[in-house]
Amino acid sequence: MSETATKLVLRPGADSATAPAEVSIGQIFLEFLIIGATSFGGAVPYLRGSLVTKRHWIDDKEFVEMLSISQSLPGLNATNMAILVGDKLRGALGSIAAIIGICLPGAVLMYVVGMFYRIHGDHDFVTAALKGVAAAAVGLILFTVMGLSKKSLAGKFDFVFMALTVIAVNRLHQSVPRTLVVVGLLAILFHRPSKKQKESATL
C-alpha cells in the first residue's frame, strides 16, 4: 500500500469543515467492533446511529452518499460502508480495521453456532425451530426486495428488467454473472444518458 497516495487522498477530506479530529485506528476498530456485536436485524441503522449521531465522524449527507455507492457495488452494504468510512477516516488501514471490526463478532458467533449445529442439528427440537426460522428469512428478504423496489425502480421497464433477471436465474438456470452482464447491459443501455446530458457533461 503506498503511503503517499493515502495521504494525498486524505488531504481534501481533512480540510472540509465537518472533518473530525484525527481518529485513531484503534478507535475505528473498536467502534466497528461494537456495531458488529450489537447490530441485530441489519447493520445500516446502527451504522448511522454510531458514525453520524454518536461519533460525528461523517455527516448525514456523506452517509447517504456512501450508502448509495455501497448499494451500487457488489458486496454487502455493511462491509462496503466499513471500507468507505474507514478510508475516509484513516485511509487503507482505517478500512481494514473497520471491516475486521464489523465482521469479527458475527463470524465468531456463527463459528460457534456451526459447531453446535453439527452436533445437535438433527434433534427434533432444533429442526422444528429451524423450519420456522427459514420461513421467516424468506419473509425478511421479500421485505428487503419490496423496500428496494419502491425506492429504486422507476417505470414499468425496470420491472421488466427485474422479471427478466428472475426468469434467467430461476427458470432458464443461467449463471448469475451471465445474467448480470446480459440483462445489466440491456438495462444500462435503456437508461443511457440523453444527448442533452452528454452535452452538458462536456461543457
Binding site: 447490530s39 441485530f40 436485524g41 447493520a43 455507492i69 455501497s70 448499494q71 451500487s72 457495488l73 458486496g75 454487502l76 455493511a78 462491509t79 471500507i83 468507505l84 478510508d87 463478532p105 458475527g106 463470524a107 456463527m110 453456532v113 456451526g114 449445529y117 442439528g121 427434533d124 422444528a128 425451530a129 423450519k131 420456522g132 426460522v133 427459514a134 420461513a135 421467516a136 428469512a137 424468506v138 425478511l140 428478504i141 421485505f143 428487503t144 426486495v145 419490496m146 428496494l148 429504486s152 425496470d158 427485474m162 433477471t165 436465474v169 448469475v176 454473472p177 448480470l180 440483462v183 445489466g184 438495462a187 444500462i188 443501455l189 435503456f190 444518458p193 446530458q197 452528454k198 457533461a201
Partner: protein
C-alpha cells in the same frame, strides 16, 4: 483432502456476485457448495443462512460455518477473506474514483440500470431459498406474516426470526 483452495476459489467468485445483497449470490452458492462440492446439504444451507439473520453484523457470516465444516478453523478464515476481500478492494478503489466520475453521464445510467437487475437477483435468491423453506401452510403463513408485520410496524427483524423459531417448534415438533 485439502479443501482450502476450492473454498477460496468458490467464495471469491461468490463475492463478486453479491450485487444488491448477499442473497444475490444464493442460487450460485447452492449449486457450488451443495451440488458441486457437497460441503453441506441444501436444508443445512437454508438453516445456516436463516440462523445467520439472528446474528449481529453483516448478514452473510454463515459462510464461516461452511468453511469450518469443509476445512476447520483455517477453512473458516480462508472463506471469510475470500468472500469479503474482493468486494472490499473494489469498494475501496471505486469509492476513490467516484467523485471524479461525478460528471460522467454514464455513472447515473449504470446506477439506474443495475438497480432492477440487482433487485431481480435478490428475488431470484429468495425464490431459490423458498423452494426449500416453504412447504405447506405453516411455513407460508410465517413468511407472509413476517413480511406484513415488517411493512406495518417498526419491529427489529431479528426478533421476528426468534418468534418464528418458537412458532416452528409449536408447528413441527413431533408429538
Amino acid at each position: 483432502m485439502n479443501q482450502i483452495p476450492a473454498l477460496v476459489r468458490v467464495f471469491a467468485y461468490l463475492s463478486i456476485l453479491t450485487v444488491g445483497g448477499g442473497m444475490a449470490a444464493f442460487p450460485e452458492m447452492k449449486i457450488l457448495t451443495v451440488e458441486v462440492h457437497k460441503w453441506l446439504t441444501f436444508p443445512q444451507l437454508i438453516h445456516l443462512y436463516s440462523v445467520g439473520q439472528m446474528a449481529p453484523g453483516p448478514n452473510m457470516m454463515m459462510i464461516a460455518v461452511i468453511g469450518q465444516w469443509a476445512g476447520g478453523m483455517l477453512g473458516a478464515v480462508a472463506v471469510l477473506i475470500a468472500f469479503f476481500g474482493p468486494t472490499a478492494l473494489l469498494a475501496f478503489v471505486v469509492a476513490r474514483l467516484w467523485k471524479k466520475l461525478e460528471k460522467w453521464p454514464w455513472r447515473t445510467s449504470i446506477q439506474q440500470g443495475l438497480a432492477p437487475v440487482s433487485i431481480g437477483l435478490l428475488l431470484a435468491g429468495c425464490f431459490t431459498m423458498a423452494k426449500g423453506a416453504i412447504f405447506g401452510v405453516e411455513t407460508a403463513a410465517i413468511a407472509v406474516g413476517v413480511l406484513l408485520i415488517l411493512q406495518r410496524y417498526k419491529v427489529n427483524p431479528a426478533l421476528l426470526v426468534v418468534g418464528s423459531a418458537v412458532l416452528g417448534v409449536f408447528s413441527f415438533m413431533p408429538k
